[in-house]
Amino acid sequence: MWRYFKWGFWIVLILTVGGILHYTLPQRDIVRITGTYNRLTTVGENSFFYATPDAGTGESTVTRDIRFIEAVRPNGRVIVYRNEDTGWVWPPYFKYDSSNLQAEASNLKSTADAPVWVAVTHYGWRIAWMSIYPNAVRLRVVDGPDTSLFPWVNIVILTALAFLLFMVRRMWLQFRERMIDPALEDMSDALTRADARADAARASARTSWGRFRAWLGGLFRR
């Protein structure tokens, strides 16, 4: 039964970490931008998926103007991004030029007849029933809807994370080998000696009362 618990624990852990990484790491979509606007939005229960007011301003965190970028994918389906400054802490994009990005997006609007394809770097998920939007971070014009994009940033970040995990494991093993194992050995040596003394005392006792006293003494001997 405990095996199932262990499996369950590891599966939940991997899904959680995978979900966090998928949300936070940058992804790129190739889209055609159709419109930009901003809308006064009050974030409610979904505030966890929204960022902070623009860096340096004193806007309210709850009700503020949020910029949006509307776009359409090559397969015809639409996507809406928000365009907010990230905080200085998390996610670690240090983005504070959202107004400039909005201006760039407005500049790249195009129609279906004369499309301008743009690679939008973003993080986050579009979940309509929670009204959360991915946060656009960068825009770059590309040649066409089939341009292939190599995810080198993600590879660098994941490699760094794997290296960190490996180093943490090495440090823990070293600590265990040098500090904990010798201490445990000393402890188990001391217990073995105490047991031997108790056995010797029991063997040399001649009556049942004497044996009982020897056993009791063995419990309290150091």
Binding site: P92, Y96, N100, R178
Partner: protein, 88 residues
């Protein structure tokens, strides 16, 4: 403004903790290597004295300075990110 300073201070504290952990780990590994080196071959003299001399040499070695990269690399990564995200 305050937010930037707060994050910078927090980041510096976290990096300091990581630097201390890596320093301790590196010393521990060096000490173990010296002990194994003494136990392996026929070395003259006292074991403790040999290990202590080796640790003194480690104190002035290049490896100790390399651990300062723990500060350099994350700060560089942040600077590169800020440039790439904001100054296209």
């Amino acid at each position: 403004m305050i937010a930037i300073l707060t994050s910078a201070v927090m980041g510096f504290l976290i990096l300091t903790v990581i630097y201390l952990l890596v320093s301790v780990y590196s010393r521990s590994v060096r000490r173990e290597k010296l002990e194994k080196q003494f136990d392996g071959g026929d070395m003259p003299g006292d074991r403790d004295a040999f290990v202590e001399k080796g640790m003194q040499a480690y104190q002035h070695s290049l490896r100790r300075w390399l651990i300062l990269l723990v500060y350099v690399i994350p700060i560089t990564a942040v600077a590169v990110t800020v440039y790439l995200v904001n100054y296209n």
